[in-house]
Amino acid sequence: MAILTANKVTKRFGDFTALNSISLEVPEQSIFGLLGPNGAGKTTLIRIINQITGPDEGEILFNNQKLKQNHVEIIGYLPEERGLYKKMGVGEQALYLAQLKGLSRHDAMTRLKKWFEKFEIEDWWGKKVEELSKGMQQKVQFIVTVVHEPRLLIFDEPFSGFDPINVNLLRDEILELRSNGATIIFSTHNMASVEELCDDIVLINKANKILDGKVKDIRWQHFTNTYQVNYRNYENNIAELLAPGFELLESSYADDTHSVKIRLPKGTGSGELLNAILPHMSIASFAEVIPSMNDIFITEVNAVSANSILES
């Protein structure tokens, strides 16, 4: 069940096309990675979802309903370029922003108190924002993003500016929000956190969608039949043991252990590799090499750039 659907969304700024017929579906109660290099059009798409700007063509559906102004009250947005009024009090400001999201003053107050207690920052309430450190400001910002209990949350680089302890705290909060029923759109360049957190992704480059699907599926699609073998007690060249078509990609040696990556030809499996090498050595570990999101990202984006160079 998709909570958010984009149908052929196109946005132009003068002659520049920021989004070219983008379609995607964000499943409910999932973490959805919105990926792409700088300037790909991610922020424009997020702004369209937030109704900061409108699409030139196509439409966005929220729960199969065309996006309406009152949808902003069930969306929470933490922009990459974020900030607070520096001269305003923390509590006062949080109240103001919560009320702008449609909460009554009373509700906003109770919920904010709860969040401030949870993050153990009650004594910041009366302080001015400029008195807080950057990390502290980010915490306040996170609270005002989620305080109205939105059904859809959009986090743009949420971990920037946090120390590792707070990154963990924040990640746990995000996972808890999902288990409580929220859907999260997560835009980041940190591919490790994409692998760790995201269920689905879409990859945008130069206004076009170049990849989408479940993280697991995508990684399997990019599986190149490559295996990593760590072994001991064999000092000859392992390549001599391999049948034609098998390709030795990398090899290294450290602490009495050799480490190699071998790509198998199409149609062969791990059994054939194992049969060839097992009699000669003691194997410490044997594993499929599933490409990291980082590799996939770079491969895909570069492929598009190469194509566009060829075309032009």
């Binding site: 700024f13 003068g14 702004r47 937030n50 109704q51 900061i52 700007t53 409108g54 030139d56 102004q69 902003v72 009250e73 969306i75 947005y77 922009p79 370029e81 974020r82 900030g83 607070l84 009024y85 520096k86 001269k87 305003m88 103001y96 922003l97 009320q99 702008l100 999201k101 449609g102 910002q141 005002v144």
Partner: protein, 468 residues
């Protein structure tokens, strides 16, 4: 709608709580009250009557000068030299010397004094003399006319029938003469002092509109830049529309301006009232009924004449200042001030918001500020010319163009502006405000999300044409 109210509230409360607002609110009325009280205080200081010695060689003017609250005319039957000596010894105020004329009619007088005479006193002396001379000339003409008609006519003694006749004639024809004088020269002593008050009120109102628009318009711009540089703007416009944020800010700041203005009026009135209570005799306001009569008929000739012949009024500087101030139609002034302030401010603050949204910081704002502020500054530069000719074509057109009308119209209104002109100017100003807001909103919604881009006018033009 509820959300725009939240924005207005925030803009209002954060500004009203600022120290600068409180300081301005207290300082303003003190300055304004001083404007009213200081002239009164100065008038109080010269409470004892000043003696003006009159040496009249013609013998025609002595006794014609009437004493007032401040001056006492004392006729002295000596020659000039000894009178001068007495003046020095007695530390008198001034000596008015009217020499015997070389021709038949006296035409000049000399005043010896330590200090400059007040304009009012000078005018008064001139007036009395002029009237007397007119009388002399007329009775001379009458006499020769009577003699020509009847050679056997015998002129009378000191108080001749001709003198009485000429006095009577003068009185009767006075108003007609005055009517032409007013239209040709646009003045008479009393009329002049009223024009002076219109000038003062007009310039003060014009300058205040200018200051208010500038002060609060720039506050809007700063607010927009603050939201942009602190990057909170994207958080907020994910909750409300950019237009709501912009209008909320503009309206919020307008309320701050109005609050300040109202507090100023209340405090100023309170200070003046308190001072008046503490010194009740010193601050005699002119009789209310008389004032309103004068105000209604300030263009009426008969009334004018009457005023002019009332030496007490034209003599008392302080009273006439008050009177002139009271002659202004305050309800119209205040209503139109509020209107022109509000809509002038709304028009300009939309433009200031536009500028704020297009730049990254205040130093960059200069290039776009200039075209916005030029019409405002131009209005102030033109003030002198408008005052000189408040109903001329320049004044008319500048008070129609929305960018200049708030200041120029406020300068004109104390001089009296026909209603159709005010209505037309008001409609144009509202139209200008709507146009400016539309333009500002289109640039604003793109501008607030643009960072680190060098923006020029071509870029702005592109933003205007972007679709929502």
């Amino acid at each position: 709608m509820n959300k725009i109210f939240l924005i207005i509230k925030r803009e209002y409360i954060t500004r009203v709580r600022k120290r600068s607002f409180i300081v301005m609110t207290i300082l303003g009325p003190i300055l304004m009250a001083a404007l009213f009280i200081v002239p009164a205080y100065l008038a109080l200081k010269q409470e004892e009557k000043r003696v003006i010695t009159v040496v009249d060689e013609t013998g025609r003017f002595a006794g014609k000068f009437e004493d007032s609250d401040k001056y006492k005319f004392q006729v002295m039957q000596t020659d000039l030299e000894s009178a001068k000596k007495i003046l020095k010894q007695s530390e008198g105020f001034a000596l008015l010397y009217i020499p015997k004329p070389k021709q038949s009619v006296p035409s000049n007088a000399i005043v010896y004094a330590d200090k400059q005479l007040s304009i009012n006193l000078e005018e008064y002396i001139k007036n009395v003399m002029a009237r007397e001379i007119e009388k002399i000339k007329l009775s001379y003409e009458l006499r020769s006319a009577l003699l020509a008609a009847n050679p056997s006519y015998e002129p009378g003694g000191d108080t001749t029938s001709e003198d009485l006749m000429s006095e009577k004639i003068l009185k009767n024809i006075k108003s007609e003469i005055k009517l032409t004088t007013i239209q040709v020269e646009e003045n008479g002593a009393e009329k002049k002092s009223f024009t002076g008050a219109s000038m003062i009120i007009g310039s003060v109102a014009g300058i205040m509109i200018y200051m208010f628009i500038f002060l609060f318009g720039v506050q809007v711009m700063r607010g927009v830049i603050e939201e942009k540089t602190s990057r909170i703007v994207e958080v907020i416009i994910s909750s409300v529309k950019p237009f709501q944020l912009m209008m909320g800010k503009i309206v919020g700041v307008a309320m701050v301006g109005l609050t300040q203005f109202i507090l100023w009026i209340v405090f100023t009135a309170a200070i003046i009232f308190t001072v008046q209570l503490s010194f009740p005799d010193k601050f005699k306001m002119p009789d209310q009924q008389q004032v309103s009569l004068k105000a209604n008929t300030s263009l009426n000739t008969t009334q004018d004449t009457q005023l002019k012949n009332d030496p007490e009024n034209s003599n008392d500087q302080y009273n006439s200042f008050y009177e002139a101030l009271s002659s202004i139609d305050y309800p119209t002034m205040i209503a139109s001030f509020l209107f022109y302030f509000l809509f002038g401010y709304l028009l300009y603050s939309a433009l200031f918001a536009l500028v704020g949204s297009a730049v990254d910081n205040e130093t960059d704002s200069q290039q776009f500020m200039l075209p916005v502020t030029i019409p405002l500054i131009f209005s102030i530069v033109m003030m002198q010319a408008i005052i000189m000719n408040p109903n001329g074509p320049l004044a008319f057109w500048l008070s129609m163009i929305p960018l200049t009308s708030p200041v120029i119209m406020m300068i004109r209104i104390p001089f009296g502006v026909p209603w159709p002109q005010i209505v037309l100017s008001a409609v144009l100003l509202i139209g200008g405000f709507l146009g400016a807001t539309w333009l500002a909103a289109r640039i604003y919604r793109t501008g607030i999300l643009m960072y680190g881009k060098k923006v020029d006018y071509r870029e702005l033009w592109k933003w205007i044409r972007y679709k929502g």
